[in-house]
Subunit: 220 residues, 2 copies
DNA sequence: TCTGCAGGGTGACAACGTCACTGAACCGCA
DNA sequence: TGCGGTTCAGTGACGTTGTCACCCTGCAGA
């Protein structure tokens, strides 16, 4: 448990030795399995999470039951908005789910407060993390307001696939990614398939022509 | 200039006397006329602004030139995201415009850093302000993704009108408010007019039946 | 009075969302 | 191996929103 995880966070490189010591001593490394609900309405976390491995997906659900993925927290990043949106008076319908198995450092609120007071680099880290998330949200707004769906879908398929050449997901899940309806995804994927860019089977999309997909995705 | 503006900010009520003194001594009250661009791409503010009077409107503009209003900062609130989104590495296309004549307190970055270190209540104020803005952004996302335009337009007409019974604005400006196109606003307003809810003339919308408008707005 | 221009109206069409329903693939189990 | 339930995907019809091209109108300044 004396693992030196701090070096995994570039933003924390400037921490002084005593701050590092506090952080390592008073935080716990936790593991949560894929699918766990990390926070959500009626579930306010008393920790700031720094992700070591895995990813956390943050959703919003509308009253009518439609959903959209707001952003993901990747390894090496922190889950600041998590704490922030819980801090707000309004209870909000955003929730965080473990997208994969997750290993994270949990910094208790008191330790967090202490560090923010004591350490300028730590504070900068926190504010930088906020800024990053906020620009993520700006991105989301720009895309849902102004970007065509075929382009957004192509982009999302690329990022979900990563290095692999297939994505294991349902049309419904893709619809939630983009905040649209399943039927719309089905039709778009059919069009992609018709053009020979992808192949589909139940629960799986294979990318056949990454070049064409990339070309569309970059037609931003 | 020794005006005690601190009491206008409920979140700052808990500040200790010495912090209050620093804040009042080292901050300046500034006035900017309506229409001034307060921040934007290539214009990063070195101050945190606390609004005393007036309102600031924060926009985002897409590459294709379409715009959307993200939120407004009202008197008694602070412009935290302003500083935050400038802090992010990416240069972002959000910009802040004085929606009316504005009077505000400008807290220089150094003073801000000092206060965040010294004062727990000040820090809470800052974090609470962040949370508020972030939930505002969540609201925006929920609305543009899932809410019908007629409902959003009715809501916006109500808030823009305030106590008055008319709104002095063009269709184009309303389109920017909601991130849509002018033609769409024109058609919706015509429908409202046909139902006898509003009357229109060049650059002006009069609310004739606030009850009906409110009813639609609350059909969220 | 003329003229330029911002504001607003309109029709056609494309893109996206919704609804109702159908069929296909998969799973557990007899 | 076949059965039945469930999840996933396909489809047509239709309503809403976005885009494009173009027009008309009211207003201000020359």
């Amino acid at each position: 448990m004396t693992e030196n995880w701090i070096d995994r966070f570039p933003g924390l490189a400037a921490l002084s030795p005593d701050v590092r010591e506090t952080l390592v001593r008073d935080s716990a490394v936790v593991e949560v399995p894929k699918g766990t609900r990390i926070f959500g309405p009626g579930q306010s976390p008393e920790n700031l999470l720094l992700l070591l491995d895995g990813a956390v997906r943050v959703h919003q659900t509308s009253e009518q039951g439609r959903e959209i993925v707001l952003y993901r927290v990747a390894a090496g990043e922190s889950c600041v908005l998590t704490t922030a949106c819980m801090l707000a008076h309004e209870d909000y319908s955003a929730e965080g789910l473990a997208d994969t198995d997750v290993r994270a450092v949990a910094i208790p609120r008191k330790v967090f407060d202490d560090l923010v007071t004591r350490s300028i680099p730590f504070r900068n880290f926190v504010f930088a993390a906020y800024s990053q998330r906020i620009t993520d949200l700006f991105h989301v707004i720009e895309e849902i307001a102004f970007q065509r769906l075929d382009i957004r879908l192509a982009q999302r398929l690329r990022t979900l696939a990563g290095d692999a050449d297939e994505v294991r997901t349902t049309h419904q899940e893709l619809a939630v990614e983009l905040g649209t309806a399943r039927e719309v995804i089905s039709r778009q994927l059919q069009e992609f398939q018709r053009r020979g860019w992808i192949a589909q089977s139940r629960g799986r999309v294979s990318l056949l022509d990454r070049g064409a997909i990339a070309h569309l995705a970059e037609a931003a």
